[in-house]
């Protein structure tokens, strides 16, 4: 599963409605954590011959991101693009994705643990709950063998190894350096243009429309604001030793943090 998000270089501006961002001049990319998921899936394809389907929830421009991941090596894509899903909260989005997944054969679902736009940290987990399958969070390593998936996952102050029977959902953590998602090759880009990409509507998913969209949302953004700019700081004066002395004094006496 992948989501299209603004590139992380993007400078965020608030849109005229005061609840969403201004979307002009934004470069849209695959959510980095979802890109790690694509890479993890393609490694299973390379090593075990898995068939990799991409699933995304609209809008139409997300087609570009699906094509990018097809160019990396995935086999086919599905985009659910229906105006009725607009304004859905995380649970509404999870219902759409889960309904689409119910129509697909799958052993393993992989996606990012969060999308770096609204950082909701819940859609993937909710999909696992709605499908009643195990969820393994924040994987930094993943292997599949004998009908089971094993992951490594850091928690506060420790590292866990977990396993679950398939079918299961794994949300990916780690960083670019862990997964190093592959670049699309030129032949890959050419092939991607011919790979199947299906656009689905809610009606295709047998999902009652009253379960999604703004009217079904239990929680919504009331307002969006930029962070309060930090007050201009001070440059600590003196020579090297003097600066060190003065910084310790400031942190101890003024900020009172040491």
């Amino acid at each position: 599963m992948l989501k299209q998000v603004p590139d992380t270089e993007t400078v965020i501006k608030i849109g005229p409605d005061g609840k969403s961002i201004a979307t002009s001049d934004i470069k849209w990319v695959i959510n980095p954590y979802d890109e790690y998921a694509v890479e993890a899936a393609l490694r299973l394809k390379d090593s075990q011959g898995a068939n990799v389907t991409l699933l995304s929830l609209g809008p139409q421009r997300a087609v570009e991101s699906i094509r990018s991941a097809l160019a990396m090596g995935a086999d086919q894509g599905i985009l659910v693009d229906d105006p009725a899903t607009e304004g859905s909260d995380a649970l509404g989005k999870a219902r759409v994705l889960a309904a689409a997944l119910k129509q697909l054969p799958f052993d393993l679902i992989v996606c990012g643990h969060r999308a770096v736009d609204d950082d909701e940290n819940q859609v993937g987990i909710m999909v696992a709950e709605l499908l009643d399958i195990p969820h393994l969070a924040l994987a930094v390593a993943l292997e599949v063998a004998d009908g089971r998936v094993r992951v490594e996952r850091p928690i506060e102050g420790a590292k866990l190894k977990l396993e679950a029977p398939l079918p299961a959902l794994v949300t990916l953590g780690g960083a670019h350096a862990v997964w190093n998602p592959r670049y699309a090759s030129l032949p890959g880009i050419m092939k991607a243009k011919k790979k199947p990409l299906e656009i689905k509507k809610l009606a295709d998913l047998e999902l009652p429309p009253e379960q999604v969209g703004a009217a079904a949302a239990r929680v919504r953004v009331a307002s969006l604001e930029l962070p309060v700019p930090r007050q201009a700081g001070v440059l600590v004066p003196g020579d090297t030793a003097g600066k060190a002395r003065e910084l310790v004094r400031l942190l101890h006496e003024e900020a009172k943090v040491i």
Binding site: E129, L162, R230
Partner: protein
């Protein structure tokens, strides 16, 4: 009619995690604003005997499920237990910790109960008898206030560690502990194969002080001075993406939009120029110190205290001064 605030605690290795006391304290403030009771759900192996301590932070009653099957967090055992209690209790507001396990459990519960959830909140308030929650989006490049649809309860929010102020514990107050019978699966399908503790290492997401290094560190061997500085301050070492990509530091140290988003009391950035993704990940730290020899580095725009110096000269001098301060205290 839904009423009251319920906090879901986190119990690991025989003790409640500090963030649970932060969440209980925030729950107390919200319950007072509503004029409604504060309860808690405590799940774990050996949790019932420890649960009365939650009263020190204002919890009136704890629903404890104390079973060996709950030793490690697994959604398939924790979610049905917590959901069953919540269905009976029908609280207006449910708070949890935005920890690794807390976020997983919260999302599972929200899907199970058909509730709205805001994860990783940095501020909560009651307005017109309903919850409002603030949380960072775009890793802190913007902040959103969330509201719940009319009548949509429970209103669920998980709280970012280190942000909600802990009440001073009041040992004279104790919580009533009840142990309701709940139905758990006979055995879990998921298995924890191993737990490897990172001995003595403070986790970045919960560290009060973070000393971070960037490309200016010039190589992995030079991080030793940052380790020493962090140790003196009782903190953790963080890193910029450039140093993680270069293989100098483990990925778990990465601070930024695709890494940890952190909120320590003190963040000391050494040799970090300040890419937009890094500034988003650490910009809500309470005090920021930047050490960089380039006075034009963007990191200085976020710094409360800027030091234009060669870090290889400055950090050892800073360590000396800190040792003097420690000796004097």
């Amino acid at each position: 009619m839904a009423q009251g605030v319920c906090v879901i605690t986190e119990f690991r290795g025989g003790a409640f995690r500090r963030v649970s006391f932060e969440v209980a304290s925030e729950g107390r403030r919200l319950a007072d604003a509503l004029g409604e009771p504060l309860t808690a759900i405590a799940l774990g192996d050996g949790v019932a005997a420890a649960a009365a301590v939650l009263g020190h932070y204002g919890v009136e009653k704890v629903y404890a499920v104390d079973q060996a099957l709950l030793k490690d967090y697994l959604a398939e055992t924790y979610a049905p237990a917590a959901a069953e209690i919540l269905k009976t209790l029908q609280p207006r507001v449910v708070l949890s910790a935005a920890s690794v396990d807390g976020k997983d459990l919260s999302a599972r519960l929200a899907a199970r109960l058909g509730a709205g959830l805001a994860q990783d909140c940095t501020a909560l308030k009651i307005e017109g008898g309903a919850l409002r929650a603030q949380r960072p989006v775009y890793a802190g490049k913007a902040y959103a206030w969330y509201e719940w649809a009319d009548g949509a309860t429970p209103q669920m929010a998980s709280c970012r560690p280190n942000v909600m102020a802990c009440l001073p514990p009041d040992p004279s107050r104790s919580a009533v502990v009840e142990t309701p019978a709940v139905t758990l699966p006979a055995a879990a399908k998921c298995r924890v194969l191993s737990v490897e503790a990172a001995a003595g290492k403070v986790d970045l997401a919960e560290a009060q002080t973070i000393v971070s290094g960037g490309r200016g560190m010039k190589g992995p061997e030079n991080f030793a001075i940052l380790e020493e500085l962090a140790q003196l301050l009782g903190g953790a070492v963080g890193a910029s993406r450039a140093t993680v990509d270069a293989g100098w530091r483990p990925h778990s140290d990465q601070v930024g939009q695709t890494g940890k988003v952190v909120t320590p009391t003190l963040y000391i950035a050494c040799g970090i120029s300040g890419a937009i993704q890094h500034l988003a990940g650490m910009g809500s730290s309470k005090f920021i110190v930047a050490v960089n020899k380039d006075p034009e580095a963007p990191i200085f725009s976020k710094a409360d205290y800027g030091v234009v110096e060669d870090l290889f000269q400055f950090v050892p001098a800073l360590i000396e001064e800190l040792k003097k301060l420690k000796a004097a205290c």
